[in-house]
């Protein structure tokens, strides 16, 4: 659990900002209180003027590099999960959650090899949201598609509907979670573009950050609606495509050079 130092910090900022009893707060959070009181947490909710998305430059995505996957697993506590006793390894690989995965492709005609990360595409018209009987699968005002575990009944209809296999069902009891990514048996989950990080004022996702840290910069995060954002600029200057564009879902995740 060494990797979650960022988030609790952020969480506490909001909390401390609200705390009236300074003395009490000092007892509650002795270590972390010092630095950044009051900043961060969004109180007015997701901004409907925004639409968050990603641009993935597959030319920059390095073969064999899984930094984005590792970062995602750490960020959301997926690495805290363990293979249930007695389960065989192959089945565990098919049952454990994967929010992001690396895919390696080869063109049938030209033989060109492409690497890319694949995750929830945050569609404007998400099939998972359409089919969910309880409305647990929903799209936030800022375009993030996610699951409200509180109302998810675990019917898996969204997994049937998703064209990207972006969703995972939790097949087992979960012992350890991070504060920011609750997880438990019987519900469906998927990439949420690190929604809570954004809510606490961060401007990047864990995967994009990790990719940049590796020097690849293959994942670019930003606001699709803001013409001045780096993302929008990049999208307007280079040809990009949606995976399964034929379904006209208007995905929030775009790819170049596929």
């Amino acid at each position: 659990m060494s990797n979650q130092t960022e988030q609790p910090d952020l969480e506490r900022r909001g909390f401390i900002g609200k705390t009236v009893l300074a003395a009490g707060a000092a007892v509650v959070a002795p270590g972390v209180l010092v630095s950044v009181a009051g900043a961060g947490a969004k109180t007015d909710g997701a901004d409907p003027g925004k639409r968050y998305g990603l641009l993935i430059d597959t030319n920059k995505c390095a073969e064999g590099c899984t930094a984005c996957v590792t970062a995602c697993n750490e960020e959301h506590g997926i690495d805290l999960m363990q293979k249930p006793e007695g389960l065989d390894e192959a089945q565990w690989q098919q049952q454990k959650p994967q929010w992001i995965r690396k895919v390696k492709l080869q063109d049938n005609l030209t033989g060109r090899v492409t690497n890319l990360p694949l995750m929830c595409q945050h569609c404007e018209f998400p099939p998972c949201v359409d089919v969910c009987p309880t409305g647990a699968s929903f799209k936030r005002a800022d375009g993030i598609v996610m699951v409200d575990r509180h109302t998810c009944i675990g019917c898996r209809y969204c997994m049937m509907a998703c064209p990207y296999k972006a969703r995972s069902f939790i097949h087992q009891e979960v012992e350890h979670q991070t504060v920011s990514a609750p997880r438990g048996k019987g519900c469906v989950e998927s990439c949420n573009l690190c929604a809570y990080r954004l809510d606490y004022g961060a401007d990047n996702t864990a995967c994009a950050e990790a990719c940049a840290a590796q020097g690849h910069n293959a994942i670019l995060f930003g606001d699709l609606n803001d013409p001045n954002s780096e993302l929008a600029q990049a999208l307007s200057s280079a040809a990009s495509r949606q995976i399964r564009g034929d379904l006209e879902l208007n995905t929030g995740v775009r790819y170049t050079n596929v």
């Binding site: 098919q94 690396k102 949201v129 009944i153 296999k165």
Partner: protein, 398 residues
Amino acid sequence: MSTMTYRELWCSSPRYWAGLALLGALVLIGLGAAYYMEHQGHYVTGMNNHIVWGLPHVFAIFLIVAASGALNVASIGSVFGGPMYKPLGRFSALLAIGLLAGGLYVLVLDLGRPDRLVVAMTTYNFKSIFTWNIFLYNGFFLIVALYIWSMIDRTAKWAYTPLGFTAFFWRLALTTGTGSIFGFLVAREAYDAAILAPMFIIMSFSYGLAFFILALLAAFWWAGRAIGDLRLTKLKNLLGVFIGAVLFFALVYHLTNLYITQHHGLESFVLLDGGIYTVMFWLGQVVIGSIVPLFLIYSPGFKTSRWAIAAASVLVLAGGFFQLYVLVIGGQAFPMPLFPGQEVLASTMLDGQIAPYTPSVPEFLLGMSGIVVAMTLVAVVSRMLQVLPDSLEDEQER
């Protein structure tokens, strides 16, 4: 028809209670399996992130589809005015309720969070066909229950015809809704076909009637009552027509797919090289589920053989089960076309590969117990209410 008398299903007590105890034990085993899967989590099943709906769903959809079909006999009696079928109406409606209850029981117990059933019943997303199905299912219970009441209670005769029509149209809507669960999945090639909804309706006719014939034979054997050959022959001929119709729809479905170049991969998967799914299609659905029962039904050698009729019905059910297995599980196992024109060299999510699925024993036990729940319900209510005619001997007809 005024001579027709109905009587509760009384047979000698030990015989009845022993039968019921057997059914109860099987239900308990199914409940135990469900508890095991819920308590441990779905990792103990064969299901995974690729095959998200497994054997329980095949059973559940099978039962739900059959439920609306079982009502058919009652509908023929009241909507289409078939005098031969009218005395069977009550039992047909009861069987419909039982089968639907059994199917929903399996479906609900396989949810990731069955404890949140109340959420499903109170929080709706009206864009989802599932939500509509919740209304369709609950409405079906209510309407068919009232329908039975209108058939039994002489003071409720006025309600019989309107309820008969309502039930008939409701059951069509219900099967369409169930078929649409798949029809709305644009992402998967096997399901993206408009023909699925009408195909589900014709499937329901076939499975429902097969269930009905078996249940009727079983009940009359249990209670030691007699059924005339004339009536059974009518039922069996009807079953033959339905089998042919299902086969025809399957043919159209595959021909349509074969016309679309994009779907060639899927078709060769089902028809040629899909391993178990190909076997299930040809041997299960076509041979066991259609050709052999057609032979049993139309062969002059088996003209009035009860065993041939029962065997044909069992085989139709088995074939229907295989058909749904290929559709539900085969449809998920076949990879989704994410990158047309490209081959996937590596992916941890099995992109471009056939997804593996090995059903587990508890899944099977839960699914089986769905059928048993249906039978138990029918057995108990048949003893409580006057749903079965005292005798179905031919000479009572006219």
